[in-house]
Symmetry: D2
Amino acid sequence: MSRPGKPSPTLDELTAALVAFRDARDWKQFHNLKDLLLSLSLEASEALELAQWKRAEDFERQARRGGGLHQRLREECADVLLYLLLIAEAADFDLARAAAEKIAANERKYPADKARGRADKYTEL
Amino acid sequence: MSRPGKPSPTLDELTAALVAFRDARDWKQFHNLKDLLLSLSLEASEALELAQWKRAEDFERQARRGGGLHQRLREECADVLLYLLLIAEAADFDLARAAAEKIAANERKYPADKARGRADKYTEL
Amino acid sequence: MSRPGKPSPTLDELTAALVAFRDARDWKQFHNLKDLLLSLSLEASEALELAQWKRAEDFERQARRGGGLHQRLREECADVLLYLLLIAEAADFDLARAAAEKIAANERKYPADKARGRADKYTEL
Amino acid sequence: MSRPGKPSPTLDELTAALVAFRDARDWKQFHNLKDLLLSLSLEASEALELAQWKRAEDFERQARRGGGLHQRLREECADVLLYLLLIAEAADFDLARAAAEKIAANERKYPADKARGRADKYTEL
């Protein structure tokens, strides 16, 4: 969530900064959609790697503390978002709107009264 | 990017909707950070799967056309964003700000004059 | 491990069966190394998905019991091995020998007396 | 494939060496199945990373040449196999036999006459 007194950039602003960064380096030639998706997956793995060999409770406590692990998690998640924005730009869709629609679809798929407290897939509810 | 005439939700609005969705189902108990990161990685893989066995140019053309593949890509990317938002909420950081800082860091790491047109890692520039 | 009374196929035998399967379908044209690695990663994610949202101890108990989860884990791991064999065949290396060399390298990197009972990376020992 | 004049280790021999390595370091305590699957996925991503930003044909040529990339690919694939063997040992199944059964199942799922030259999923044949 954004912090009081600190205006967070919007996704549009981030995309504009990212496109300027990319184009100043003439990197659009490498950014085909398949490699962007491959990179998205690699960055998500790097984020996951932070939790490797750690018990879930230990990791959660360390990641919250504001120490080195918190900072690394923040950076890896930022990398994932940057690739998402490049993908949305390349494939020409509105990522925030897509996410809002997905929340709405999940609300239909997982009715609160049936899904409460259960980790099952919606097909098993 | 957002579309003219259609206000896109902000990340804060998406996070609020997501937290309401989660809490109405009492799912916070499953959402420890390690499993959220694991899920982030799985969703990124599902997005990547759309490009499996496709030549990069063919995939790019199909994903742009506005057909079924475009819609599936949009949904998979939405899922990735939703997990990012849950992670940022659980670990208590501002995802948009983290992304802005990462762009700034990349600008220092990859000077435009050295990185132009090269896909090398910054350590190899 | 192999079972008494049941001869397990060797990696060479598996590779030969896999190449015959592939060539009977004229699929070598799709099996470029980049897509094989992409597929390896996707299959490993499908294996990991079996553990999503499960506590480590619960998953371990369920995966061992010989029920449906055990069978699915076995199949997903088989898929990962099949892609490894296709990659080794395409890039022309001996996978079993590579693994033996890696064990030997790990023995040097993680001296038993320093690494005992510690999950740290070797750089942190 | 194995090389003439060089006997390759069997999967049973590799598993025995790996278990001895693990137990000499008292690492079984970290090797719960969920973390082993997580590690399998991370290692597969590291293998995939070798192909990031490379055109499929360029990567294939470089990976075959016997240079540094070939060696790194070989090592990353070895890491994936080692985790597969640890998983099979922990969940108590015969990995080679599972792979042989999967090839047989794929032969039924993808009849050669229908699947020839097509990359479609079997459900779409």
